[in-house]
């Protein structure tokens, strides 16, 4: 039996790596992947705690998060593709009309 603490620390590490990826990469698709990683780190945490407290609700949360992630990927990629049609770029630095 591995203590829950280790799972939680692993989740934290993955979350931090994902966050750093979101902040440092330019390619919108890679940022997307990093966001997925962050979501998964939370999933890991929830499942570990679900076992810890012997409560299936944690797994239900993960179930919902997976559905949301799937929906998010579908919509997000659609936005990206649609935007790409207009600007021929997926570089996040060139997508900066969202201001003022």
């Amino acid at each position: 039996m591995v203590a829950t603490n280790f799972y939680l620390i692993l989740g934290a590490i993955i979350f931090a790596i994902g966050a750093v990826g979101v902040l440092s990469r330019r390619n919108a698709l890679i940022i997307f992947m990093c966001v997925e990683m962050m979501l998964n780190s939370v999933n890991l945490t929830l499942i570990a705690l679900s076992r810890q407290w012997n409560n299936l609700n944690g797994q239900m949360f993960v179930f919902v998060i997976m559905a949301v992630a799937a929906a998010e990927v579908a919509v997000g990629l659609a936005v990206l593709v649609s935007h790409f049609h207009h600007t021929k770029t997926a570089n996040i630095d060139d997508i900066n009309v969202l201001k003022w």
Partner: protein
């Protein structure tokens, strides 16, 4: 009988509304006669109330009709109620009677005026406000009317707001002057009302009589002096009389109705109405008496040298109002109301006759350009003569009896005031006949003008004749020793004090001599061109430039009050408002703009920086929960 009292207000209101809503679609005659009919019907209502009162026993002649509770704030209650008593009915009769005649006269006088609907609307509105003033049974209702007539006066003085000439400047400015000077008086009225409420606990006139017994003398003096300030504003007394001469910028029937017969007497009416208060303060009454006496002398002296017919009449109005205020100050309330009534007749007559002259000369009223109008305008000539004789106090015209009643009261109570008033009476007789002789006798001074002069149409001369007849016979209202009017008013102002018969006869004799002497001087100087009056006047020559410049009062007011106020206002407008007030407001805006400019750099559209902000927040929250919680 008293059930119809509401028609007093309904009729002029309906007249005004009809003209307001339909006036532009109706021909001139219809509008004029609608307004006149409304006022004539109102006169009928007032007469009905008079007969209603007459039918009651003397001690029950005070009927209050409460229509509804106007306002109730805590224990502060004001009813919307009218008081029908001898005083208010007298005023209502004068207002509607003279008002109706002047309405009819206006149909002729304003025939060529473009804005006649507006004129008649204002006039009906004035009647409504004036009736509110005189009929209301409490201070607040009276104040509503007080302000209403002030508004009507302002609107009508500035009726030709787009005109300007050398005498009045912009006519609209004359209206503004009247309005602003009246505000000073209204300030006194308002503060007096507050004090009355706080010290007596009632604003109802009929309750004053009982309530004043507990009043401290100092409080009574303060209240009465504040009321006097209000009366001085409305009735054009020193120091607030300056607006009335300028008010002559309005159409002449307006001068007759508002600025001679009715509105300006509101101050006198108000003092008579509140006589219970005045009995409590000797000081305030003496002050009122002296202010009235000095005003009458002062204004009469200015009227001596005026060359504009309406200005002469304006100053004589100020002077006659001074007589009335003097009389109420001496406690002679009955005689004051008598003079008020007689004055309403003969001064309205004089103004309307002057208006008739103006009508004939297309607006020229400078008596140095007139002369010899007697032959061309016989009706105007004779009616003006009757008016001038009444004003001068020639026996047996109404002015003689009414003024004599005041003078006798003064002779009995205060010799100093009596002497002042005798001089003023002499001046009055002189200037009224000066105006008369110069205008109507002698040879025409301006032939070209004279050639076009014509008598006014009948619609104007008939009101003149009616008013002339009233001016002649109004003395019968209150003949010495018979005192019909005094007895009529006794329930309101108390019984007439018995005057020593020797003093009474002496006073009458002096009045007759003085008035005839004034007449004689004017006749000698302006008709016969004899030199003795000039010799008589030589010691007073040094006064002439002072008089011609109206004692420099306007200039002094300009320098002492208007100038500093304008300078202060200018400073506020040029510096304080744009720099401090606007500065503060703009500074708030600029802080918002500048901080927005600074902060909007954060909103640069680059999504990673937004993500960074979120991440920063996440780390901060985590740190809080790990270490601080």
């Amino acid at each position: 009988m008293f059930d119809v009292a509401w028609l007093l207000f309904a009729l002029p209101a309906v007249g005004a509304l009809v003209i307001l809503l339909l006036g532009t679609r109706l021909p001139f005659k219809v509008v004029g006669w609608t307004a006149s009919a409304a006022v004539m019907a109102t006169f009928g209502v007032a007469a009905a109330l008079y007969f209603g009162l007459l039918a009651l026993p003397v001690d029950q002649r005070s009927v209050t009709i409460v229509y509804w509770q106007w306002m109730t704030i805590g224990n502060f209650q004001v009813p919307a109620a009218i008081l029908i008593d001898p005083l208010s009915v007298l005023m209502a009769l004068v207002v509607t009677g003279v008002g109706a005649l002047i309405h009819i006269y206006s149909i002729g006088y304003m025939a060529h005026e473009e804005r006649y609907q507006r004129y008649f609307f204002y006039l009906n509105f004035f009647i409504l406000a004036m009736l509110t003033l005189v009929m209301s049974n409490n201070f607040l209702g009276m104040f509503v009317g007080w302000e209403g007539v002030g508004l009507a006066s302002y609107l009508l003085i500035g009726f030709w707001f787009d005109r300007r000439d050398d005498m009045y400047g912009w006519y609209a400015d004359a209206g503004k002057k009247a309005f602003i000077v009246n505000r000073i008086g209204d300030f006194g009225m308002l503060v007096a009302m507050f004090l009355i409420w706080s010290s007596l606990g009632t604003l109802v006139f009929t309750d004053l009589g009982e309530a004043v017994h507990g009043l401290a003398p100092a409080a009574a003096t303060t209240i009465c002096l504040l009321l006097l300030l209000g009366a001085a504003g409305k009735s054009a007394q020193i120091p607030l009389y300056v607006w009335l001469p300028d008010a002559m910028a309005g159409p002449t029937p307006v001068s007759a109705l508002i600025h001679a017969a009715t509105m300006v007497t509101a101050g006198v009416y108000m003092i008579v109405r509140t006589n219970a208060l005045w009995h409590m303060s000797e000081t305030a009454m003496l002050t009122a008496a002296w202010i009235g006496a000095l005003t009458s002398l002062f204004a009469a002296s200015i009227a001596l040298v005026q060359t504009d017919l309406k200005k002469i009449l304006a100053y004589s109005t100020v002077s006659q109002l001074g007589y009335m205020v003097m009389a109420v100050g001496l406690g002679a309330f009955g005689p004051a109301m008598f003079h008020l009534t007689a004055h309403a007749f003969f001064k309205a007559l004089l103004f309307l006759a002057a208006g008739s002259v103006m009508h004939a000369t297309s607006g020229v009223l400078d008596i140095r350009r007139l002369g010899g109008l007697r032959k061309k305008m016989p009706a105007t000539y004779w009616t003006f003569a009757i008016g001038a004789a009444a004003l001068a106090g020639i026996i047996p015209f109404s002015g003689f009896f009414s003024k004599d009643a005041l003078l006798v009261a003064a002779l009995e109570k205060n010799l100093a005031i009596y002497l002042v008033e005798i001089v003023a009476a002499l001046l009055t007789a002189f200037y009224s006949f000066r105006a008369f002789f110069v205008t109507f006798h002698g040879r025409p001074r301006d032939e070209q003008l004279y050639a076009h002069v014509h008598e006014s149409p009948q619609i104007m001369t008939i009101p003149l004749w009616i008013l002339a007849a009233l001016s002649v016979v109004a003395g019968l209202l209150n003949l010495p020793f018979i005192l019909t009017l005094d007895k009529w008013l006794a329930p309101v102002v108390g019984a007439h004090e018995k005057i020593n018969i020797t003093i009474e006869l002496l006073g009458i004799l002096i009045s007759i001599i003085i008035s005839f002497f004034g007449l004689l001087m004017a006749w000698a100087l302006y008709v016969r061109r004899e030199s003795w009056p000039q010799r008589l006047a030589r010691p007073f020559r040094f006064l002439q430039p002072m008089l011609e410049n109206k004692w420099y009062i306007d200039e002094v007011y300009n320098m002492a009050i208007v100038g500093p106020l304008k300078a202060a206002a200018g400073w506020f407008a040029r510096f304080f408002d744009p720099k401090i007030i606007d500065g503060a407001v703009n500074a708030v805006g600029e802080v918002a703009i500048d901080s927005g400019e600074a902060v909007r750099k954060l909103q640069n559209g680059a999504v990673p920086t937004y993500a960074f902000s979120i991440f920063l927040g996440v780390v901060a929250v985590v740190l809080y929960f790990v270490f601080a919680h």
